[in-house]
Symmetry: D2
């Protein structure tokens, strides 16, 4: 999976505390939970741009995930504070890609990285061109 050498801008940083329910019998953050945490960070990214993803949906645009990828480097444990870096890395006609990095509280050590590709569809699930207002919102020249 290609990961950008320079993390794209604009970006958002989510602070997340690992809960007991997110850990597994190995004592570490379970691998599927990373996708939940990525989702939390892109929700924050959108909110920091000034809109809730629920408003995006109300405007008739849904962004279902078409592909997800995650590379697990250093495990996290119960009560660890992790910092999740999120940005849009790629714009296509009817899709976009988010990238993520999870770091320690000093934001130095890389614990995990990932990406999600999202289709842009209308309420009937039909692919549509990414609207200009969404690009503008996410800080992309239209």
């Amino acid at each position: 999976m290609d990961f950008p050498k320079v993390f794209p801008m604009p970006d958002a940083w989510l602070t997340h505390r690992v809960s007991y329910g997110e850990t597994d019998a190995m004592g570490v953050l379970y691998y599927a939970e990373y996708l939940h945490i990525f989702e939390r960070s892109r929700g924050l990214f959108i909110r920091e741009r000034g809109m809730s993803y629920s408003t995006v949906e109300e405007r008739g645009i849904l962004l279902p995930v078409r592909e997800a990828w995650c590379r697990y480097r250093v495990p996290s444990r119960y009560d660890d504070e992790i910092h999740v870096h999120c940005a849009v890395s790629e714009w296509n006609r009817a899709s976009l890609r988010f990238v993520y990095e999870i770091k320690d509280p000093a934001r130095e050590r890389l614990l995990a990285q990932g990406s999600t590709e999202h289709a842009c569809v209308n309420k009937l699930g039909k692919p549509v061109r990414v609207p200009d207002w969404l690009k503008a919102l996410f800080g992309q020249p239209t």
Copy 2:
């Protein structure tokens, strides 16, 4: 919480295998997962009566949970096979109650028990009388 002395009929038994993602750092089935498993067993109960809960919803009736209760007796671990017993224990004008028992594969040792109370509402979320077809479906004289 009152639990019926005799398990009600008709009933359903779900067989469930504990996955790694359902365990926590204590090495046991995480306490919130029991509610997921209860939901699976009542879905099976409805399906065995001849209808999917999704059909119940298509007919305009939703059964959101208003109260949930669980008593954890013996912890389950990764790869354990557990058997979940489910039935309706109580009918009210606009609500009903499911009860659950989780047992070992011999269906002898009680591992957990619980109950969920469900409002009967229409698609606008307004409480409505439990329809006769639902009572009949669930094996209750109307």
Copy 3:
């Protein structure tokens, strides 16, 4: 389930943002997720007393949930900010009870309430007397 008329002190307030992954096909926060959120709030409660629950475990004391109860009053939706109020309501020889309230951001409207009873056990899973340092930590006269 008895719920105290006056919320006990000391208390903690957790702010939680409802994620997409926590919602279900009814469009609301799924009922099992409340137990995850309760757990987050009691983790915060312990942390605000000056210790992580992981330190409690390192000292040889585990607090597995023996009983959980939740009353769902008003559903929460994607991106809602909810405030979770948490405190210890009851001390017994070898167990303790936490209570929870979930409120809107104004901390006025009651969305849900619940409780969890925890056994106090050692690393072998054997019930032990609640240690004085734990009572003192949680703000209880020993």
Copy 4:
């Protein structure tokens, strides 16, 4: 992500029923849940070879996920029965790769595909050579 043209053998097929708790506000199986379901299918794969993954761990070998990837093609909904195809696609000195396909009950329509790469580590988390008994168990000439 490379996906093998011919699905490897030996393989396992898991039948899974989509629960309400696995769906999200879009009404479909939430994207992180696929990783839980993949895990269930590789647990079944190992069990069908004659050993539980918990026995693998008891023998001192852990297989933590180092990388996960999923391509979502057709969404699944509440109560859908899905069939999950699982096999080992790749053996390396100290790691192995599982691949997955999710299909409809006729096992014809491809709903999703994915892969997970697992490190082979000892109980201290140190990478070790994949043991011959594990290769033999998984149907690989040693």
